[in-house]
């Protein structure tokens, strides 16, 4: 897949994603992979690629120094300034899918993902929450719940 974006612009895109999805706990890898997903989408979507080419160039001209050298707070302000543009929306739409589907991100968030190969969660804590009492599971007023029609026909 070809791209007209320069190496500098590709690096800027990673920094845009870091500013758009700021997580102190995330390493660089997921942002780089999300940026690659945006580039892959742009490679087959001329409209998105055009938005990236123009938009990343424009971002670098917003302040005295290129976007990548801005303080995080300033970078956030600059990004808010382009909120709702096809440029930023195009990036966010692709990146939000890629970033949070990244297994390294799952690990940081504490999500364990696919379970079937491990026998599900039945013996791995599906009911291990212990900071609340165990609630009733039967319907209200149901003796044993075996054939409770009250709720259905009430």
């Amino acid at each position: 897949m070809s791209t007209l974006l320069s190496d500098d612009q590709r690096r800027t895109l990673v920094d845009v994603l870091r500013a758009a999805f700021p997580h102190d706990t995330f390493p660089t890898g997921p942002y780089q992979r999300a940026a690659q997903a945006v580039l892959d989408a742009a490679a087959v979507n001329p409209r998105l690629q055009a938005q990236l080419l123009q938009g990343l160039t424009d971002l670098d001209r917003q302040r005295e120094v290129p976007f990548s050298r801005l303080d995080p707070d300033i970078a956030a302000v600059v990004l808010r300034g382009v909120a709702g543009t096809p440029f930023l929306t195009g990036i966010v739409d692709v990146a939000v899918v890629a970033l949070y589907d990244d297994h390294e991100v799952w690990e940081v968030l504490g999500y364990e993902g696919p379970s079937y190969d491990k026998g599900g969660y039945i013996d791995r804590g599906f009911d291990d929450l212990d900071w609340l009492p165990d609630p009733r599971i039967e319907s209200y007023g149901s003796g044993n719940g075996a054939d409770d029609r009250q709720e259905a026909s009430a």
């Binding site: 758009a20 999805f21 700021p22 997580h23 706990t25 956030a76 990004l79 808010r80 930023l88 929306t89 966010v92 739409d93 939000v96 899918v97 970033l99 949070y100 589907d101 991100v105 799952w106 968030l109 504490g110 999500y111 364990e112 993902g113 696919p114 379970s115 079937y116 026998g119 599900g120 969660y121 039945i122 791995r124 804590g125 599906f126 009911d127 291990d128 929450l129 900071w131 609340l132 009492p133 165990d134 609630p135 009733r136 599971i137 039967e138 319907s139 209200y140 149901s142 719940g145 075996a146 054939d147 409770d148 709720e151 259905a152 026909s153 009430a154």
Partner: protein, 521 residues
């Protein structure tokens, strides 16, 4: 695998293999009817499914283009994805989470009970709960619904523990882990759940009822089922007498095939069913097949929905276990003093980080999104699902956009009714109160997802002028044409629709068997 000849005009053709079509096909096969099922999507099975939200979405979802219009949030948030339904054998029963409430008596007579609500096209169903009750019993037994007919309840998972404790503190009483059509213990040749989650992604284990794992294999065992995946219906044909004579469809190679038929059932889910009838317009039926009333595509309903998340100081891990396994039914009561007609259920829901980040605040980015996602592990979730008002102008029409076959795609127009907005506000507020009652430090309101409950576009009516099909789902205009999905719902009720779709399909099969002799014998 049984194959019937394209020119065999004795067969029943069922278009769609989901809750309605898959159930009807099995019921007819059991009664000796030669049955051809045309399914637009591929034949995926447990081994094929991904326990990965986006991979599964790409594999299962109906992502062919559709267009949207109207004031609903979906037209802004997901303009080309108005519905979240499945294009594969088993239809959306491979995606549903299994909630099985029945309709309540008043929900069959909303025009009478709620009265004349401005802007709403309410109409009483031509049937009552008591007529449907025997079929609810059959459907619940067929599906192995928990809490019913001796089937044990699902255990409490972590998400339910938060939900039920909050409900109790708030004073709700009608909460439980069901009814759900997922096996808590082995039933009907299918295993008990191993709490592996991913019910929305096909359910690899097969402990959740779907037509893929329950109805279609039974139908196939009769030798009367000819299941044709990758077969997109493009037109229902009719003869000079106005009766349906067969179905044109594009096979997996794009080749147009004609299957002749004695009876045709349309069960493509409410958007595609209406689209197919509109696409089947002819000189005799210029406004579309079965549409002399002008009601085909109108009164589209999608339930009043929303999601509430509670974030806590301690872990919840909502993703462990069944995706949905808890219901609060207190707000499903008949009580117009709340400022709206109709009721709603609260049901536990869990998403992985991928879908959570995408859907929690659609289009959002920046700290507003990332602070929410950072709390993922400590998040509990519930879905609000309630009755929405039918409106004549909420409607499926043919779009200017065409699909890969050159056929106009469906445009889905929807404006929220003021009653819908009032109910959603009430539901989101009550949902937040449930979580705050057990110490949530943050609650988040998520707007509706693309519609999973698509209803009403071929509604059932006593008088032919008021709707599209009669009390058995037979088209008022075309005596051998049936509709067998949620399109026939006269009004939507609060209940998740699948149980009722299945009950109606079993009832329709009884009717067809009484009216037509099985030609396979």
């Amino acid at each position: 695998m049984t194959r019937f000849d394209y020119d065999d005009s004795d067969v029943v053709v069922v278009i769609g293999s989901g809750a309605g079509g898959g159930t009807l096909a099995n019921e007819l096969c059991q009664r000796g009817f030669k049955t051809v099922v045309l399914e637009a999507g591929p034949h995926l099975t447990g081994e094929d499914y991904h326990q990965d939200e986006w991979a599964a979405f790409g594999q299962m979802a109906w992502t062919d283009p559709r267009t949207t219009s109207g004031s609903w949030g979906i037209a802004r948030d997901f303009p080309n994805l108005p519905a979240w339904i499945v294009k594969a054998v088993g239809g959306t029963t491979t995606h549903w989470a299994g909630a099985c409430p029945r309709f309540k008596p008043h929900e069959f007579a909303t025009r009478t009970i709620y009265g004349d609500i401005d802007g709403a096209s309410l109409l009483d169903w031509p049937i009552t709960l008591s007529e449907l009750e025997p079929y609810y019993d059959k459907a619940e037994r067929k599906m192995g619904v928990t809490h019913r007919h001796g089937r044990p309840p699902l255990p409490a998972n972590n998400n339910y523990k938060v939900f039920a404790n909050g409900a109790d503190k708030l004073g709700y009483r009608d909460y439980a882990t069901g009814p759900y059509a997922t096996n808590a213990e082995p039933y009907d040749g299918r295993p008990a759940t191993v709490q592996d989650g991913f019910n929305f992604q096909g359910d690899k284990h097969g402990s959740k009822w779907s037509t893929l794992v329950a109805e279609l294999p039974k139908a196939e065992a009769t030798g009367n089922l000819d299941l044709r995946p990758d077969s997109q219906a493009v037109q229902i044909l009719h003869g000079p007498d106005g009766r349906a004579t067969g179905v044109l469809y594009a096979d997996r190679n794009g080749t147009l095939r004609r299957q002749r038929a004695a009876i045709v059932s349309v069960a493509g889910n409410s958007i595609e069913t209406a689209r197919l009838l509109l696409l089947s317009a002819s000189t005799r039926y210029p406004d579309g097949l079965a549409n002399s009333s002008g009601q085909v595509g109108r009164n589209y309903m999608r339930h009043t929905t929303g999601t509430v998340w509670g974030q806590f100081d301690k872990p919840v891990r909502m993703y462990r276990g069944e995706t949905m396994a808890g219901v609060i039914a207190d707000e499903s009561r008949l009580d117009t003093d709340r400022g709206f007609a109709g009721g709603y259920y609260m049901e536990t829901i869990a998403l992985g980080p991928a879908f959570f980040a995408k859907f929690v605040a659609p289009g959002s980015w920046g700290p507003r999104l990332t602070e929410i996602v950072d709390g993922y592990l400590n998040t509990a979730g519930m879905w609000i699902v309630g009755e929405d008002m039918p409106q004549e102008t909420n409607r499926i029409t043919l779009s200017d956009t065409v699909d890969e076959h050159g056929l106009p795609v469906a445009n889905v127009h929807f404006d929220d009714h003021p009653n819908d907005l009032a109910m959603r506000r009430h539901g989101l507020t009550q949902g937040a109160a449930v979580y705050k009652a057990v110490g949530a430090h943050r609650t988040i309101e998520t707007p509706p997802y693309p519609s999973t409950h698509n209803l009403g576009t071929c509604r059932m009516s006593q008088r032919p002028g008021d709707g599209v099909v009669d009390r058995f789902g037979r088209a008022h205009d075309v005596p051998n044409l049936f509709v067998t999905d949620g399109s026939v719902f006269t009004t939507g009720a609060a209940a998740n629709p699948t149980l009722t779709i299945v009950a109606l399909a079993v009832r329709q099969a009884d009717y067809i068997a009484s009216e037509y002799r099985a030609s396979g014998n």
